[in-house]
């Protein structure tokens, strides 16, 4: 069978049954007691998962190679700039080869599962697992084995970033207008992002920020700066005067 990118069927069903999804009440979590003193950390940036494209009339994602390439460049630059302002050093992870590549792939996959679980079972207050109900609790870990991904670097934290942007196409916007006339709410465009910081010594997830409605056009350097500022909202150690962080 030919592999498909995304199935239309989901898009159609979404259009019909999910006019408005009430998204997570909470967007960010920090491990209690965790502080990242400025100018102390070397952060390993794991290759961000970035995908930018358009949203078709029916709600299908249409990936765009050029936009994605621009976004990848802009976001990386904005991330480095934001962290340098905090005094932290950001090193971009090399693409590993051999057994190290397998380890990296496993931990990237594990992180996406972990982040997904945090969003589902922690950020949704009503859906919290019994073991995650204590007030102020944020107890998630990838295990100390994650240190393997930073072997040979001086990094003490790993930063995972993922981002998907679907810009509403003209057809989608028209549909939105006409649907509104028929009292149906149709969302045009979807901009989701997530960033998480993992302590490489213990493997603990010390901070996670997930936002299902982000601002900033990542295709431009200015927009990417705004997006990164939102992604890093509540980043440990960034609780400095707001004027110092990027806008």
């Amino acid at each position: 069978m030919p592999l498909r990118l995304c199935t239309l069927r989901c898009a159609c069903i979404l259009l019909v049954i999910l006019p408005q999804v009430a998204w997570a009440q909470e967007r960010t979590g920090t491990k209690p007691g965790f502080v990242l003193p400025p100018r102390s950390a070397t952060i390993l940036l794991i290759r961000p998962t970035i995908s930018v494209g358009a949203q078709s009339t029916g709600g299908m994602f249409e990936p765009d190679a050029d936009w994605t390439a621009q976004a990848r460049e802009n976001i990386a630059a904005a991330l480095t700039l934001a962290q340098t302002r905090l005094g932290n050093q950001v090193i971009v992870a090399d693409e590993p080869v051999g057994p190290a590549a397998q380890v990296m792939a496993e931990y990237r996959a594990l992180f996406s599962v972990l982040a997904d679980s945090v969003m589902r079972y922690q950020f949704f207050a009503g859906n919290r697992l019994p073991s995650k109900k204590r007030k102020g609790q944020f107890d998630w870990t990838m295990g100390p084995g994650v240190a393997e991904v930073a072997r040979g670097t001086r990094a003490n934290y790993a930063l995972f970033v993922s981002n998907q942007d679907q810009f509403g196409s003209t057809g989608r916007k028209f549909l939105q207008v006409f649907a509104a006339m028929a009292y149906v709410s149709v969302k045009s465009g979807e901009h989701t992002g997530m960033a998480g910081l993992v302590d490489l010594r213990t493997g603990d997830l010390v901070w996670l920020n997930a936002d299902m409605a982000m601002g900033g056009d990542v295709r431009t350097p200015e927009g990417a700066k705004k997006r990164v500022a939102q992604l890093l909202e509540g980043f440990p150690g960034s609780a400095m005067p707001a004027s110092q962080t990027v806008k």
Partner: protein, 400 residues
């Protein structure tokens, strides 16, 4: 109308209704230029997404990264589609027990171990890999994406029209909603119909590759016949109805297997081309993997289906590894009669190959569960032969 026009009109109607599918001839091979690069926003976007997925897929633990095995599969691709075309392919062998393979727009070819286990010879494997390559050469991911997008747009507009009729009422509101529903259903149905057509095209082009290759094209319908028999065995074992003669349903993304095998058999017979099946090469290349894949197959919890595969693989002569797999299958189901049968299989394995420690393990466990004290001796033999086995400590607790 002139007679010629009539014929053309009839052909057009037949094409539209899909009647002509059986009569379609094998296409001639399209011209091919190497190192194809994606063109346009859609195709470049799709390739980018698959490139990104391939990055993580390449390093995934579900992929069997064995150089000789990969090289062998690549050789089969090259023998099937030709030395120039096969350069575009990067095969990934995935530990998955289903008979399947798939192809991404960018040349990433995924081959399941379930296919490698079930295909009886190289020609059968070649026909499936040719089919997958046809999806790549015909750019089916791209065309499917575009079709889905158009159909999605139509479905979305139809649902808005329906909602508007519902909201504003009026005399024809009911009719409008009904028409909108029907348009929506057709649009969604057309996406499945489109993938079924793509599968038919890929079958035809695969036949064209087989025609130009050293392989016997009869093996292509053979693998489908075999799949039908296996499904029947599974259905029988589960007390279910056979689906052999079912037509493709609304949401089926492949034509029915019976349609495919019938069409392909006609084409292969018409081609009447002798060819090799490459069985010796195939068996030699996959021999190191068979035991592991059989062990995966047994875990599918499909007793009758797996037993069918084992019996078919064995033919008239049961080899030691197939007998061992059969013993494991029977012991896993574990009815009292299965344990007796399993013990019999293990004994036969031991008679043929007394160095096989796992057969003693299976025999001992089957005997112990049948309250046969002889099992202790068999398990002791297992531990003496393999003192460092992973389950040594656990087995030791059984024989204290």
């Amino acid at each position: 109308m002139w007679p010629g026009q009539w014929r053309r009109a009839a052909a057009a109607v037949a094409l539209l209704t899909g009647v002509a599918a059986h009569a379609e001839p094998i296409p001639s091979l399209p011209p091919y230029s190497g190192a194809y690069q994606p063109q346009g926003v859609d195709e470049r976007g799709i390739w980018m997404e698959f490139d990104e997925r391939e990055r993580s897929f390449r390093d995934s633990t579900v992929v069997i990264n064995d150089a000789p095995l990969k090289a062998y599969v690549m050789q089969v691709v090259c023998r099937t589609v030709g030395a120039a075309r096969c350069q575009a392919v990067r095969p990934y062998i995935v530990r998955d027990t289903s008979l399947n393979a798939s192809m991404a727009a960018n040349g990433m070819m995924i081959v399941h171990t379930g296919l490698l286990l079930r295909a009886r010879d190289e020609a059968e494997l070649a026909s499936i890999l040719g089919h997958e390559f046809a999806h790549f050469e015909l750019r089916h991911s791209l065309h499917g994406f575009r079709h889905d997008r158009t159909a999605g747009g139509i479905a979305a507009w139809a649902s808005v029209a329906g909602a508007a009729a519902w909201a504003y009422g009026g005399r024809s509101a009911y009719d409008t909603v009904r028409v909108a529903r029907s348009v929506q259903t057709s649009a969604i149905g057309s996406t499945y119909a489109h993938t079924r057509d793509q599968e038919r095209q890929a079958d035809l082009l695969s036949m064209a590759y087989l025609k130009a290759s050293p392989y016997d094209p009869q093996r292509f319908p053979d693998i489908w016949d075999q799949l039908l028999d296996e499904k029947d065995a599974t259905a029988h074992g589960r007390r279910q109805r056979s689906t052999r003669y079912d037509r493709a349903g609304f949401t089926d993304d492949h034509p029915s297997t019976i349609e495919r095998t019938t069409t392909l058999r006609q084409l292969a017979l018409a081609m009447n081309k002798p060819g090799e099946d490459g069985k010796e090469r195939y068996d030699a290349a996959l021999a190191p993997w068979r035991a592991a894949w059989l062990s995966d197959e047994i875990k599918r919890n499909d007793f009758a289906g797996t037993d069918f595969i084992l019996r078919r693989m064995a033919g008239a002569q049961w080899s030691a590894d197939l007998l061992f797999a059969r013993g494991e299958l029977y012991r896993a189901r574990g009815h009292p009669r299965d344990l007796v049968a399993a013990a019999g299989f293990y004994r036969e394995v031991i008679a043929r190959d007394p160095t096989r420690a796992e057969a003693y393990r299976g025999l001992g466990l089957a005997q112990l569960r049948s309250r046969d004290a002889g099992g202790v001796a068999a398990l002791r033999t297992y531990l003496t032969m393999k003192p460092a086995a992973q389950d040594a400590a656990m087995i030791a607790t059984l024989i204290q």
